[in-house]
Amino acid sequence: MKLLNQSLKYLSIAILIIVALWSVVFYYSMLHEIKDAADEELENQKRLIIQNTLTDSIIIDKKHFDESLYTIQKVGTNEALAAKDQYFDTTILMQDDDDENPEWEPVRMLTSVFKVENNYYQLNIANPIIEQNDLVKALFWNIVALYLLLILSIILINNIILKKLWMPFYKFLEQLKSYKIENAKPLAISDSNITEFNDLQVAVDQMNQYNLNAYNRQKEFIENVSHELQTPIAIAINKLELLFEDGQLQNHQSEMLAETHKILLRLTKLNKSLLLLSKIDNRQHSELTQVSINKLVHEIKDELDDYISSKNLTINSLKDEPLFKKMDNAHATIMILNILKNAIIHNIENGVIEISIEKNQLIVANTGIPKSLDQDKIFNRFHKGNTSQSNTGLGLSIIKAIANLYALQISYQYRDGKHFFIIKF
């Protein structure tokens, strides 16, 4: 869930609780105010009625609530002396202007006792107040309206203001999403006036610098190791060669030494491939020129002629449309060399290689083991599809590394018994 919506969710719950609590409090305080006002009114009326009875004794006995909403009854002395002024809620039968028949309506009632010429009278004054149900209903709808208004405003505020406030964050996030350590581009830090975002950017940038350094050290390390290994391996190979020249070896000794010699050659090749890979990864390339892929393919194919004929392979050129790409000539050569060598090495005796150069892609297909390779893994370093001993497992990784460097797409397919390698330029 997006931060915006999440905050909206929590805010609406919080506001709902606050508004509900507030409405209860508001209801009771309203009710209290209404009754207070009613009581004051009753008190006033009481004084008026008592004054009136002193001047006009006709009204001294009034048994029913009519339009004037009060009753006066004579009471006994004892009762009168025990009585106090009392305010309370009750209902009386009344006809409101919207009622067809008299109904029981809520009223605030004052019961008081007064004395006229040694007689005690009880006075009941009623003051109609708003029905509580009506109050609750009115309040409820008002609260709902208020609540909806609040939520709506929050959504608006969120969408307009918060989105604007979070803009630097989302921009930064986009950068992080497309970030690749191999590209080693420093993160563009946008200057926002929000401290947290600036802190975040600085923190991520520091982390990035640290990782970049570690990554570069790692790459350098691989390159240095390969470099440092070259000479000792070469010395060992040379020593073996000198030993072979002495020519006084028993058969089984020479066999073992020949094996060792072969393994050392493999080690040299592996080392060279690693060195090449780290050079490509380190983006060490000289100037870019417009390279004719067609020309390169034909040249390299001719150079590999003895390889091809030693396996008795047939090469079919299916298409030869002009294809050019701006790249380092050495890289283009290595890439095409490796893709052709791959097609030769993993081919079968009397096999076929099909080369198709199209407007925007190079396809090399070869016969080989009759099953599809794992296309997720074949471009990984040291992934070995077969058990070929002298194969470094780096050839396709080198192609991939160069493809990455020039943003070319490389893919693999297996169909009609052939392995297709496709480079999209």
Binding site: N238, F244, E245, L257, K269
Partner: protein, 225 residues
């Protein structure tokens, strides 16, 4: 023939010395910058093998000093750096050849001999092996003065062996020298076998007094019959 090897890696130095001595060269060594300068300016050598990275100085500075003094020794740079810039700088400073470490001993021998031959023979570049004559410039092979047709690869193989008589040339050294770096994938060296078979057949049929023998399955050597 006197050769000076300037190299600070003792085992590599030893390999080079042993290999050069097999070619009947008189070999002297220097393992650091000042010793190297000392020897260069006190003695004359037919060829100097020069490592670029040396203790106490750079091999390129030795080249500069030689150039300044007007000494025209045959110099082959042997460097661990496979960079074009270094190569061009070295050749610019008067080096005759540039070999990247690691290298095959056969390759080094061939380069040393080629450099010496180029200086000494002045144009007439023939190699004579018993009754076989190789005309390097015109790429011709003559056995008993009659022409034997060799294809480009066969001729290059024979030349390489001619510069390494009686020495082992491993298949990988041969592949690298004749077929180029592209063939370093030692998946199999069958393609060498086919060329060798044809070459041996041609030499045999023309009664050449040389023979190329297989050595322990790792390579071949040329012997004079």
């Amino acid at each position: 023939m006197k050769i000076l090897v300037i190299e600070d890696e003792p085992q590599l130095l030893q390999n080079i010395v042993v290999s050069m001595e097999k070619e009947k060269f008189l070999v002297e060594t220097a393992i650091e910058f000042n010793q190297a300068l000392d020897k260069i300016f006190n003695y004359d050598y037919d060829c100097i093998l020069l490592d670029v990275m040396l203790p106490n100085g750079s091999g390129l500075d030795i080249l500069k000093a030689l150039k300044k003094e007007g000494k025209t020794e045959n110099i082959i740079i042997i460097s661990a750096k496979d960079s074009l810039d270094d190569k061009l700088t070295g050749l610019d400073l008067g080096a005759d050849d540039y070999l990247t470490k690691p290298f095959h001993l056969a390759e080094l021998t061939a380069r040393v001999k080629a450099v010496i031959r180029r200086k000494n023979l002045q144009g007439n570049n023939n190699i004579i092996l018993s009754n076989v004559a190789l005309d390097i410039n015109n790429r011709l092979c003559l056995v008993n003065d009659s022409l034997v047709h060799l294809n480009r690869k066969e001729f290059e193989i024979l030349c390489y062996f001619a510069l390494n008589i009686n020495r082992l040339i491993t298949k990988s050294a041969l592949a690298e020298h004749v077929w180029g770096d592209h063939y370093d994938d030692a998946d199999n060296f069958d393609f060498i076998y086919y060329q060798m078979k044809n070459l041996r057949k041609k030499l045999n049929e023309s009664n050449a007094q040389i023979s190329i023998e297989a050595v322990y399955g790792v390579g071949y050597k040329l012997i004079l019959l």
